[in-house]
């Protein structure tokens, strides 16, 4: 394993530093018997070292498809994924192996993502062995012990020889994080990695991930539908809100969460059930014109959100799709906000 602590101010990103991972106009269209489903319809995103980019949105909005393209688990129909400025699709075998090393994926379900017949030692060391980073059993044990300690599975000795069924959901998810860390990644793509965990365990896992971000400078593409989690984990980073395959609002987390602009983001933020009975009764709710999400195969003309949008203006919203444009401190895709 390479030395991670060589550069202590590692975590401080320079503003001119190019993004580690960039998506440029990526689209993913699934060909189904019902017709073409544009799951992701042109998304531009960047993940920088030590920074968090959080994708939020409802199910079916294309968050996971975007993440899969970012990890090169699926090729985009058009557009490109750039790793350190190099298009992933054009990489040769050696470059691709380096990419696989540096971009790691943590899945949602720790019950399904670990092989039930492998011990923790075997799961976490698999990548290290495959890439020749460790030789022999003793070296593997030592490397895995170090990794388990980093994700707070201590004493690591107790966990090395356990099987997934002997551990709780939170412990399994930590093993999945340790496995991702074994490859010394520059970017971790976490797809709803905390949503299956109890609230009490969620916070400590988020804190573990936060340490990786701050101490090792790992960049995160963090996907969640939970705005409280997004706010906490990406407070110093950015949030991109997706709706039907497109980003509708993208900006620094505190601004997006505390002062949402796009009617969809406003609806999401106002719909959250707050853990405070007084707050719950007094908050203003954004009323949508319809509860139902349009079908991806039959998108409405104009803005995708207009059939549900409370600020809908006839004549512009239903004829032309609003582009994602800069508006003060963030990017917005809304005719009403960006024109008026």
């Amino acid at each position: 394993m390479t030395d991670r602590t060589a550069n202590p101010d590692h975590a401080e990103p320079r503003p001119d530093e190019p993004p580690v991972l960039a998506l440029r106009g990526v689209r993913q269209v699934f060909d189904t018997p019902r017709g073409d489903v544009p799951a992701v319809a042109g998304v531009d995103l960047e993940v920088r070292r030590g920074q968090v980019l959080c994708l939020v949105g409802e199910s079916g909005c294309g968050k996971t498809t975007t993440a899969r393209m970012a990890a090169a688990l699926a090729g985009p129909t058009s557009g490109s994924v750039l790793f350190r400025g190099r298009d992933v699709a054009e990489m040769d075998r050696k470059e691709r192996a380096a990419f696989r090393h540096s971009v790691q994926y943590i899945h949602q379900d720790p019950y399904a993502s670990l092989n039930p017949v492998r011990t923790v030692l075997s799961t976490v060391s698999a990548g290290l062995r495959r890439h020749g980073a460790v030789r022999g059993r003793r070296e593997a044990r030592r490397a895995v012990t170090e990794l388990l300690e980093r994700v707070d599975l201590t004493p690591a000795e107790d966990y090395l020889d356990k099987y997934p069924h002997q551990m709780s959901g939170g412990q399994r998810q930590r093993v999945a994080v340790a496995r991702a860390l074994a490859m010394n990644p520059e970017v971790i793509i976490a797809d709803e990695s905390t949503s299956m965990l109890d609230v009490s365990i969620r916070v400590s896992l988020l804190n573990t991930l936060g340490r990786l971000r701050d101490e090792l400078g790992v960049g995160f593409l963090f996907i969640t539908h939970d705005l409280a989690v997004a706010k906490y984990f990406a407070w110093r980073g950015e949030i991109a809100v997706m709706y039907l395959g497109r980003v509708v609002e993208h900006g620094p987390t505190p601004q997006v969460v505390n002062d949402p602009q796009h009617p969809y983001t406003r609806a999401l933020v106002s719909a959250v059930c707050e853990p405070d009975p007084d707050l719950a009764g007094t908050r203003e709710r954004v009323r949508l014109r319809s509860d139902d999400i349009p079908d991806l195969t039959a998108l409405p003309p104009g803005c995708d959100f207009h059939p549900r949008c409370p600020s809908y203006v006839q004549g512009s919203c239903d004829t032309e799709r609003p582009p994602l444009v800069r508006s003060h401190d963030r990017l917005l895709a809304c005719h009403v906000l960006t024109r008026g």
Partner: protein, 360 residues
């Protein structure tokens, strides 16, 4: 009517209570001679129209308790002690534990209905929504009182309208043709078909998107105002509890460890577990609030520590906590089951208040 099932108001069941749970234990058989107790000595009174949330981490026994209230436990589960007294629509009181088969069948849905977790699996995938309604109405008809199909469908359509669904679209559909939110709303409409006095909901909004959750919460609030049924809902989402409940019960390792009004629990928790649980979920509004983590996990049910089950994880445990198991003690007595009670040896400890463990 057999006298066993129709006790006159039992001495310790308060008159107005709809449901009086008295010292209920629930166990699961885990082997030929082994069993674990998943719910220990739970007691509470639920009054008509109240909405009570049961909260806690997974494995704390909240779903088991919810299922036990209607005797819907899997075959290995059994209510091994206590009483579940229910006041029926006709005013008579029954112990759900002793109801024999046919009476139990009639009791369910007519008096108390269940909305299961995961609307995905609660419907039969090969039956249309209208068939589910027909089945339900037919199964609970009086002998000889067979109603015509059209009349039942008309009633079903009205029910679906109460949850803001379009009956023309929904009735003829198969479950897979509906979205998660529509399925969940259909399920609530179906549960309300026979106008039960009590609705038990297991994780009613888990796995639904935020906006869909919001619409379910609003429908439930409206329906409860309109129809006046009582609710017990099981959730790990504290936000949902804050919003939908009048009162909250916290469960830990199979026991009810704190109960009180929603304000008691969220603003003045008196059990360190409840307050840790609340502090671990940050509100979305306002500045960054750093949530507290609650390390460790709940103890195994077959290896409960002596004394307070929470003591090994509790940052404020004193020596006595590992020896004496605290009982649920009333801190602020109130009527209608709304007393604030906590099972913590230090619940009135001024030192903990000073440390800010308990907010005032």
């Amino acid at each position: 009517m057999s006298p066993v099932n129709d006790l006159p108001a039992a001495p310790d069941a308060p008159d107005g209570a709809l449901l009086s749970v008295r010292g209920v234990d629930v166990g699961y058989r885990t082997g030929r001679r082994s069993r674990v107790t998943a719910v220990h000595d739970v007691s509470f009174d639920l009054y008509p129209g109240q909405s009570m949330a049961l909260v806690g981490e997974s494995g704390c026994g909240k779903t088991t308790l919810g299922l036990a209230l209607l005797r819907l436990l899997p075959r290995t589960g059994v209510v091994s002690g206590g009483e579940i007294l229910f006041r029926r629509k006709d005013g008579t009181r029954v112990d759900v534990r002793t109801l024999e088969k046919e009476r139990l069948r009639r009791f369910r849905w007519n008096e108390a209905a269940m909305v299961f977790q995961g609307a995905m699996n609660a419907f039969n995938p090969v039956l249309r929504i209208e068939d589910h309604f027909l089945d339900t109405f037919r199964a609970h008809e009086r002998v000889g009182g067979r109603r015509p199909r059209g009349e039942i469908l008309e009633r079903s359509a009205r029910l679906l309208e109460t949850v803001r669904l379009d009956p023309a679209r929904v009735l003829g559909s198969f479950p897979h043709e509906l979205s998660g939110g529509m399925r969940q709303r259909s399920l609530i409409a179906l549960a309300l078909a026979l106008e039960p006095q009590l609705l038990i909901l297991d994780e009613p909004t888990t796995a639904l998107d935020i906006l869909t959750q919001r619409s379910i919460v609003e429908r439930l609030t409206e329906l409860r105002e309109e129809l006046g049924f009582a609710m017990v809902f099981i959730t790990h989402d504290l936000g949902l509890a804050a919003e939908l409940a009048d009162r909250v019960g916290t469960m830990y390792a199979g026991r009810l460890i704190e109960t009180g009004t929603t304000r008691d629990i969220f603003h003045r928790p008196r059990h360190p577990y409840t307050s840790a649980l609340i502090n671990s979920v940050p509100p979305v509004a306002g500045d960054l609030h750093v949530p507290e983590s609650l390390p460790g996990g709940p103890p195994g049910l077959n290896a409960l520590p002596p004394g307070c089950s929470f003591a090994p994880r509790c940052a404020h445990a004193a020596d006595a906590c590992t020896v004496t198991r605290p009982e649920l003690e009333v801190l602020e007595p109130r009527d209608a089951g709304l007393s604030h009670a906590a099972a913590c040896l230090r619940s009135t400890d001024t030192e903990l208040h000073a440390e800010g463990v308990f907010r005032d």
